[in-house]
């Protein structure tokens, strides 16, 4: 008997009508298979309706809804993309300073036709993994591990591909004691001059300095429904609206969607997600990333390393200059 697709257990408020349709569709398909009745016309009608509803909903997502999609529990994470698109992934640990931060995944593998060093935040999928990964909030040792592996990559001529997905660096006592700010700062400086191509991808949440700590490179791309901002909408609401209730207003004001950031010139490319976002079809999101990384690395590898690093500087140098008037 064919397996009946089950609707996701978790639902976002604006996705409820979609989930309802998905449920009805699943029931019909199930009926058709078990009762030997022909519902083909009804099923086709529902499918068309569902596609139209998904399109309509996702075309008009507000900034705040986008943030919710980026945080969807079923959204693919760094390790999911590694499983999908990194061949022969060989994870390596070892920050050489303090301990292994499970939030930061590093290792060698192949994407498309390229041998690369992969660096990424991982949030954790089940409860146990989430706790081990601090829900994607890296400690200083995570940033130091990332840098150690990136410098290894530089030495042996491997390009670096980073997967950014974090609410922010971990705000805790140990994190401060071990210098999380220093660790991020050093990564910014070293990534700016690393003599190997660096491609950075925001796949979910781009939470401030914690995201940027592995986010300086030759190219910065974002999945369509990811967000990237200087502060979370809740944090911003808490400070500027004196309470967390205005997160939706803050999300709008912060211009944190891929579309806004492309317009502002902060990111180079929006990586299209499948209809109804990456959590509906992780493989398609993976394909989108794989294609982009493969194509981009082919471009970047053509440049002599000195030129690559000079062009990276010019790119970083321009950031925000349009926001300054003389």
């Amino acid at each position: 008997m064919a397996k009946t697709p089950s609707p996701p257990a978790f639902s976002l408020e604006f996705e409820k009508p979609i989930l309802q349709l998905e449920k009805e569709l699943a029931n019909l398909v199930n009926l058709q298979e078990t009762k030997d009745v022909d519902y083909a016309a009804e099923i086709n009608g529902l499918r068309t309706h569902l596609t139209a509803l998904l399109k309509k909903t996702y075309q008009n997502l507000s900034a705040w809804e986008t943030v919710q999609v980026a945080r969807h529990p079923a959204r693919p994470q760094t390790r999911d993309y590694i499983d999908m698109i990194v061949k022969d992934f060989d994870e390596v640990h070892g920050d050489r300073t303090y301990g292994d931060d499970k939030t930061m995944v590093t290792g060698m593998g192949r994407i498309g036709g390229h041998k690369v060093m992969v660096v990424g935040h991982h949030k954790g999928r089940d409860t146990r993994e989430k706790i081990a990964c601090n829900f994607g909030c890296a400690h200083p040792e995570g940033y130091r591990k990332a840098l150690a592996k990136m410098q290894f990559a530089e030495k042996f001529g491997l390009p670096v591909v980073t997967f950014i997905d974090t609410p922010g660096a971990y705000p805790g006592i140990g994190s401060e004691e071990r210098g999380v700010a220093e660790a991020i700062a050093v990564n910014l400086r070293e990534m700016a001059r690393l003599k190997t191509p660096i491609v950075c991808l925001v796949i979910g949440e781009g939470g401030s300095g914690g995201a940027l700590g592995i986010g300086v490179g030759d190219r910065l791309a974002m999945l369509q429904y990811a967000w990237y901002s200087v502060i979370s909408p809740e944090g911003c609401s808490g400070i500027l609206w004196k309470g967390g209730a205005n997160a939706a207003d803050a999300a709008e004001a912060l211009k944190l969607t891929s579309k806004s950031l492309k317009e502002l010139g902060v990111i180079d490319e929006i990586l299209e997600e499948p209809l109804g976002a990456a959590h509906r079809n992780p493989r398609a999101a993976g394909d989108s990333i794989e294609k982009y990384v493969d194509k981009t690395l082919r471009e970047l590898k053509r440049l002599p390393l000195d030129k690559l690093v000079d062009e990276r500087y010019e790119k970083l140098r321009k950031l925000g200059t349009d926001a300054v008037t003389a």
Binding site: R189, V230, L254, R317, A323, A326
Partner: protein, 284 residues
């Protein structure tokens, strides 16, 4: 001090009612928030804005800092005309443009940093000073651009560079553009570093967020002022996250020195000679 005389309404001659909140320094006398001594403002100012009784370091504006740090008359300001342009059209309870206009009126500056060439004990250097008085010293595109230009000039002119941090972090109203200033300034410092430049970073109270996590922590030499609060996440955010009390002295300059992230805590009255000494030792 410029800011004192810019505020005639707060002078004792025009004041008619006794001030209740003595923690807000106004008038001829003020109460030290540390030791509660009543101190004469003029004496406090003459002693680099520190309490003559307990050496509490008062927070200073960029102008006050420059006046008490560099050789008299030696500061040659650059890029003072750079102003923010609100590309995000940011509005919270108040429009960003309105907030900027108010801050500009209050401080007489276009944004929260002053930069330029100066001399300290006869030694030339490039200096950039953050101004907490302007939107809590927050870093937006103007602050990032001015720091980057200062770093690039120091590289070209082979001058030692000093940045004095005093900031709540990146400026929310410019969102990701503020965030990207961390990358931009750090990239410029990478080149300065490659060119063999000497970068002295001074952390003053407070230094937080995206400022700590970029140029402030990248000094060849990192000084901090006594008891300055320095960190990445603010203490309230941390306390809320871990749901526990923070240890005594957490995130103070002394704490950071103990943890190995600061080279030296330098009282303000020793700062000039300390900087001169470092410049000499580094043959700059």
């Amino acid at each position: 001090m410029a800011t004192l005389h810019n505020a005639p309404a707060s002078s004792w001659e025009t004041s008619t009612t006794p001030r209740k909140n003595v923690d807000v320094p106004e008038g001829l006398w003020l109460k030290c928030p540390e030791c509660a001594a009543m101190i004469y403002r003029k004496i406090m100012e003459e002693q680099e804005h520190t309490c003559p009784e307990c050496r509490h370091h008062f927070r200073v504006t960029a102008q006050q800092r420059i006046t008490c740090l560099v050789d008299p008359g030696s500061f040659e300001e650059m890029d003072a005309n750079l102003a923010p342009s609100d590309p995000l059209k940011f509005t919270d309870k108040k429009a960003y443009t309105k907030r900027l206009a108010d801050e500009q009126k209050k401080t007489g500056s276009k944004d929260g940093l002053r930069a330029g060439r100066a001399f300290i004990k006869g030694r030339p250097l490039m200096i950039a000073v953050m101004d907490f008085a302007f939107m809590a010293g927050s870093m937006g595109a103007v602050v990032g651009e001015k720091i980057t230009r200062a770093v690039e000039r120091a590289t070209r002119e082979n001058l030692p560079l000093m940045i004095i941090s005093c900031s709540g972090g990146a400026r929310m109203q410019e969102s990701t553009l503020s965030l990207m200033q961390m990358a931009k300034t750090s990239a410029a410092l990478a080149r300065f570093h490659d060119a063999g430049g000497l970068f002295i970073s001074l952390l003053s109270d407070p230094t937080y967020g995206g400022v700590t996590a970029s140029f402030a922590m990248l000094g060849d030499v990192i000084f901090a002022e006594p008891k300055a609060m320095i960190g990445f996440a603010g203490p309230r955010v941390i306390a809320n996250t871990i749901r526990a009390e923070l240890p005594a002295g957490f995130q103070t300059a002394e704490f950071l020195q103990e943890k190995g992230f600061i080279d030296k805590i330098v009282p303000r009255n020793e700062l000039r000679s300390q900087i001169a000494r470092v410049i000499d030792y580094c043959n700059k």
